[in-house]
């Protein structure tokens, strides 16, 4: 794409350029595959209504005459109890099931990581206050806390997303703080301090970038958990509101039919499984790339 690709300039290339990331991913077939899967799913989610064969059924319109059809050419994923095309349901369900959890984890990181870096770097009473607050949140199981917040806020996908952000950010604060405390003793930080660099600049320039790899790994693992938590909230009536589709909701709806109408729970289940696995594999690769100790 760029003009200088053919010209090899002998210079120490930064390992964090986008091009380098792409190059590493392209070298490893597994991470290439997972990247393609994620990009594909995200694209499908964004253009769900254009892609789905029966967008109205996907969104919830019932069609009783087609109830419980097995997978066929007309309905590759079969139909559910209310005769809705499962392929369309899975495609449109990707929006709440995939895009929203990505947003939830992103916001949780954006809130949690800087707070953790500040706590770890500043120490003292700042650390005490921030960490006691996170302890307060971490005292409850994340899903339980999310349930409590979601039921206090009311029903709806947006409120469920807020509840999940609120209950997930403290994990990143604690993680980042731990990493920051060990980074603080490193020479490059001490050197920066010695030449009089402002604390905030040190946190932003030297600490945070070095916390990316553990946060990234945690975030990819969490994505799976958040996708499932989203489904759990939907099951309790706190997340996605039926008849709108949601992978987690479809799995729980389909579980009573698993013996004879296996396709109802299976296809959304496979979708969850593939996406979570892809995120895990990609997270693994990204960690290798971003790890400052590993220059390839």
């Amino acid at each position: 794409m760029e003009i200088d690709t053919t010209v090899s300039v002998p210079q120490v290339e930064s390992t964090r350029t986008f091009r380098h990331v792409l190059a590493v991913i392209a070298r490893d077939p597994l991470s290439l595959a997972s990247t393609i899967v994620i990009v594909l799913f995200v694209l499908i989610a964004l253009f769900a209504y254009q892609v789905a064969p029966h967008p109205d059924e996907g969104a919830g319109k019932t069609n009783v005459s087609n109830t419980m059809l097995a997978p066929s050419w007309d309905h590759p994923f079969g139909t559910d109890l209310l005769g809705r095309d499962m392929l369309s349901r899975v495609i449109i369900g990707a929006q709440p099931a995939l895009i929203v959890p990505i947003g939830v984890v992103l916001f949780a990181v954006l809130i949690g990581a800087p707070l953790g870096a500040i706590a770890g770097y500043k120490g003292g009473w700042v650390d005490e206050i921030i960490m006691r607050v996170t302890d307060l949140f971490l005292a409850f199981p994340s899903l339980l806390l999310a349930m409590a917040i979601a039921s206090a806020l009311g029903r709806g996908l947006d409120k469920a997303a807020i509840a999940l952000v609120v209950s997930w950010w403290p994990w990143y604060t604690r993680l980042t703080r731990g990493v920051t405390i060990s980074l603080k003793e490193r020479y490059f930080v001490e050197a920066a301090q010695a030449v009089g660099v402002n604390d905030w600049v040190i946190i932003a320039r030297h600490i945070l970038p070095n916390t990316i790899s553990p946060v990234l790994v945690q975030a990819t693992v969490d994505l799976g958990t958040v996708i499932l938590a989203m489904g759990g909230l939907a099951f309790l009536g706190l997340g996605t509101q039926p008849p709108a589709p949601d992978w987690g909701l479809m799995v729980s709806d389909g579980r009573t039919y698993i013996l004879n109408q296996w396709w109802i729970a299976t296809f959304p289940g496979i979708a969850i499984f593939v996406v979570v696995l892809a995120f895990n594999l990609l997270g693994d690769t990204l960690r290798d790339i971003f790890d400052p100790r590993q220059y390839r």
Partner: protein, 551 residues
């Protein structure tokens, strides 16, 4: 690292595919809920090995206290405890089976009831069942039973002699029906009543004080209950009846199905309705579908506009796709209701009207009411744990949208749905889906009264049961119901006529939608005989005493 993950993921895929494709399901999973070792070696009789019946049941035990019991444990209570009498299924030659009472009579005004007790009945703890024990039990139940309200008509219980008890009522009521209820009617050993008064945790370990054919031998919460037969049972024992009954508490119907087809249990209480076909085609099983005690009702909030207008409610009642709802929600196991009384339960009548599915009529009525193209929205709540409601609620939404009424579906746990319905009127739901059943076999003084009898001077007109979730108060209806309930004992014919009038008024005014009466389905292996279904005790499922291996 990557490779390991890949292998792991492939294994997972394989596992998912295997579980999902195993539709034949001849092999049960390794649930292995075999009884713990405590059960076998304790008392080995010298005679042949004890006959054991294994049952999978979803019913949990919320309490072993027979007085407080008002929940799912009724499935077991009915095998351990007995009432004075038991009501027979509709169509039987006799209306009642005498249990601890041998005979009874009522005065002409229905205010005095005398029960003559069976002699020679022992409680499991060795006490003798007599008039004093009956009085003590009923008094405890009137005082603090889970269902103590059923005894509301009773003014006093008196011991006439050792085996005669007299009930004095403050108003006429069918005491025979009340005394045969599944809740708050068990006759309990005085020793056990004293013990639990002294120590509220007395029953926790699974002891009992009943007279029934079986006694609780051991109890592992949420897992297993072992019943063994009570040798001194007054009804006696015939060879071939089961010595022990093991109940595995299995919450998932799908798991129960696998346990049954895999031979881990002899009987299952719940099979997913869509899988009944698997057993219908299997020569080793009979599938028995029976009318039941339950029905689905949808309450319109008559305090909210425009649902305060009967024309609008009638229009919406015409826009309910009853056939599709039965097909989808009940998998065909249901019949369209005639009012709120399920078929087979007093005072059900074929003379009560029904709505048809007629969108043209619905549109006409809406425009008569001043809403030519609908144009309003309804918030419908249902219990998220109820699979049937979750299945058919979207059908209501789609059908209403065809007459221009927009529906927002709001599933929530039943408790929350209930709280919302009793809260601030402005925030209440517009439509409430409910699965209802009467506490005892009298839907006149239960269903008709509890769900539609408005009391009080100002909204929301809730009555003592809080189940009138239409918040509807109609003086004509109340008057009809008062007469009908008052005459139930003294003038049964007129009472029935008044009930029918009341039900037709209800259907016409449509404060609620009457969806369907459910049917119960039982899958009985051909190797087990003696199963008798009793519609009046839907939560008992199996009376162990009736069952024996087929010869």
């Amino acid at each position: 690292m990557n490779k390991k993950l890949l292998v792991l993921s492939l294994l997972l895929v394989a596992a998912v595919l295997m579980t999902s494709c195993g539709s034949a399901a001849t092999q049960a999973p390794a649930v292995a809920s075999q009884p713990p070792a405590t059960q076998a070696p304790t008392a080995i009789p010298p005679t042949p090995a004890p006959l054991v019946l294994k049952i999978a049941n979803t019913a949990n035990v919320t309490t072993w206290d027979p007085v407080l019991s008002f929940s799912t444990e009724a499935a077991y209570m009915a095998n351990v405890y007995e009432q004075l009498l038991r009501i027979n299924p509709p169509g039987s030659a006799q209306k009642f089976t005498p249990l601890l009472a041998q005979s009874w009579d009522a005065s002409a005004d229905g205010l005095t009831w005398t029960f003559h007790l069976r002699q020679g009945v022992k409680f499991h703890d060795g006490e003798t069942m007599n008039a004093a024990a009956v009085k003590k039990s009923i008094d405890a139940e009137r005082d603090h039973a889970g269902a103590s309200f059923i005894w509301a008509p009773v003014k006093s219980v008196d011991v006439v002699d050792d085996y005669t008890v007299k009930f004095t009522l403050s108003y006429a009521a069918p005491l025979d029906l009340i005394a045969s209820s599944l809740y708050g009617t068990w006759i309990v050993s005085p020793k056990a009543l004293d013990a639990v008064a002294a120590n509220p945790k007395y029953y926790d370990s699974g002891v009992d004080g009943g007279t029934g054919p079986y006694t609780i031998q051991s109890y592992t919460p949420d897992q297993q209950i072992v019943f063994s037969r009570f040798d001194d049972y007054w009804g006696g024992w015939k060879p071939g009846q089961y010595d022990k009954v093991l109940v595995n508490i299995v919450p998932e119907a799908t798991t129960q199905e696998q346990m049954l087809s895999g031979g881990q249990v002899d009987l299952a209480e719940r099979i997913p309705p869509q899988d009944l076909g698997n057993f219908q085609n299997n020569p080793n099983f009979t599938v028995d579908t029976e009318p039941s005690f339950f029905n689905y009702v949808g309450f319109f909030n008559t305090l909210h506009k425009p649902l305060d207008d009967p024309k609008v409610r009638q229009a919406l009642s015409y826009a309910i796709p009853y056939g599709d709802i039965i097909k989808i929600g009940a998998q065909g196991l249901g019949t369209q209701s005639r009012g709120p009384v399920p078929q087979g339960v007093f005072p059900w009548s074929p003379d009560v009207n029904q709505y048809t599915y007629d969108l043209a009529k619905a549109k006409q009525l809406l425009s008569d009411a001043g809403h030519p193209n609908g144009g309003f929205s309804i918030n419908l709540t249902y219990a998220s744990e109820n699979d049937s409601e979750a299945a058919f609620a979207p059908l209501i939404k789609d059908s209403f949208s065809q007459i221009g009424v927009n529906v927002t579906l709001t599933p929530m746990p039943f408790n929350q749905q209930w709280e919302l319905a009793k809260g601030d009127i402005a925030k209440q739901q517009d439509m409430f889906l409910l699965l209802y059943w009467p506490t005892y076999s009298d839907a006149g003084s239960d269903n008709l009264w509890s769900m539609f009898y408005g009391t009080g001077d100002k909204p929301p007109y809730l009555n003592a049961t809080n189940f009138n979730l239409s918040y509807w108060k109609n003086d004509d209806y109340n008057k009809l119901l008062d007469t009908a309930i008052g005459e139930e004992v003294t003038n049964p014919t007129d009472s029935q006529a008044q009930f029918v009038k009341a039900m037709n008024l209800l259907v016409d005014q449509a404060p609620g939608v009457f969806f369907y009466d459910t049917k119960a389905a039982f899958v009985i292996p051909k190797s087990i005989a003696g199963f008798k279904y009793n519609l009046n005790y839907p939560f008992v499922y199996y009376f162990f005493y009736d069952l024996h291996p087929a010869q």
